[in-house]
Amino acid sequence: MNISDALAGMPQILPMIAVIVGGLVTMLMAVARSHKDPEHGQLTAGPFVAVALVSLVFALFLLTQIEPQAKAVWGGTLAIDRLSLVGQGLIVVIAALAISMGAASITTQGIVRGEYFALSLFCVSGMMLMVAATELLTFFVGLEIMSLAVYVLVGFRRSDRRSQEAALKYFLSGAFASAFFLFGAAMVFGATGTTAYAGISTSAQKLLSGTAFPMQTLLLVGATLCVVGFAFKIAAVPFHMWAPDAYQGAPTMVTGFMAVTVKAAAFMAFLRFVLLALGDGSTRHVPWIVDVLSLLAIVTMTLGNLSAVLQRNVKRMLAYSSIAHAGYLLVGMVGALERGEPAVQGLVFYLFVYGLATLGAFGVLIALERKNGRHDEMLINRFAGVGFQHPALGVAFAVFMFALSGIPPTAGFTGKVLLFGPALDAGHIGLVIVAVLNSVVSVYYYLSIVVYMFMKNPPPRQSTEPRVFSPWLTGALVVTTFGVLIVGMMPQRWIDMFAKLV
């Protein structure tokens, strides 16, 4: 292969380039503004959000122009199959919503730097690389771009103790996990002599079926370490310890961004690794991976939900809820390994629904945050009577909670049916029963906030609290609320969109 072959893949990475260019432009705008404007507090988010949205929408447009093909491009490092294109599109859409929501709190939360937008966009480009990578090193570079940007975003509130502490804890566990992944990747390379998923799959089949090459142990230990690295990123128990701290300490807008996009990107990359490197799309080379993932799913769901019930801090509660959702998604992954395409479709559909609902919930939290730039504790009592003071926000929040707990007619219900169905078909009845029981438990804590909002009287002094208003936030909340409802009521069109993924 020579360099012109590599460059033939140029059109396929144009969406990524569009996002990076958006990041560069916002970065330069941030520098220019800080020189012109001595009054730092007056940074207006409008132009930054506009540039970010333009680049993301343009990237989405470019993604729709690319024809999916089975062969990897860029020397076998980048896939442009449908899973890659739909995955990148999903991340771009969700990131656009998350960035619009963040605009509201850019000044109120003491985050007056435009670099927020630049780092978010770079982060998105890393995620796009992760989702599309079909080679361990390429994936690792994407993972690190995403992770480093998110560590910084978590610590973006520079004078806030919690934000800094969260950034440090997230960084330490994230770097630790990356090192595990890399050590595993080195072992996989040692066992197979390659790092491309296709090559790994071929060698793995040879290694694990016959006794021609007795290097199974090296391969299996390596693959296990890689899976540990992925499990850290999707916050699956027992590798979830960072998530509650990071979610609670991060500025709310960053929590929303990372809860959704990081999980979606890591999950889709994980799916690709398990399907295409440890299998070849339809068959699995490592039979017991299903058992490992089922066990991980059960532990993750149960512990996530039970811990969420105990929380008084809503951000922390949503963190445990996102851990529980990682468990549900792992159930979908078990289905995907057993049933192939329809299950992959269900998994991506659920990621989309989870993204809308979680992002919406964090959007409501952003709208309710106090305006003084101090860290807001977001304890559950604060939500008493909010439903009467701000009926629209209360109703929207209730919709998101219904969706997260999987109550019809929201999209959460459809999503869970599509997610658990294939696992049930494949005979994992016990696993699905645990998942459904967990969903029932989760109803308790999701609805308890709604109960606080609509059935308790507000403490008297809170009524005059100033509220952040931003057209961007309002727009994004409208989109997510109606998205959750419309997708839930007429799912077929949306399911078709995710059809034929492998």
Binding site: E165, L172, G249
Partner: protein, 106 residues
Amino acid sequence: MVPIGVPVEHVIALAVALFVIGVLGVLLRKSVIVMLMSVELMLNAANLLFVVFAERWGVARGQTISFFVMAVAAAEAAVGLAILIGVFRTHNTTDVDELRDLLEQS
């Protein structure tokens, strides 16, 4: 040229020992800066594996990857130390056990 006459098991043992030292450093040490150094050791252990496997397979890929890992390690160290400075500014300590503003409140 032929690979060096050291059995590959011995090199793997060295890499695993480095990795385990790194893991224990992250888990046992309280000082954040030493934890960061331990992460560097873990990355180096992975690099050593890449280089030795590349030599045994006779392909360049493992060596190429080790460059990328070095670049990533440098970027990670820069961000990690910046976050450490941020924590020091707000908490006046670099001891992980003294960072407990974010705790379970149940």
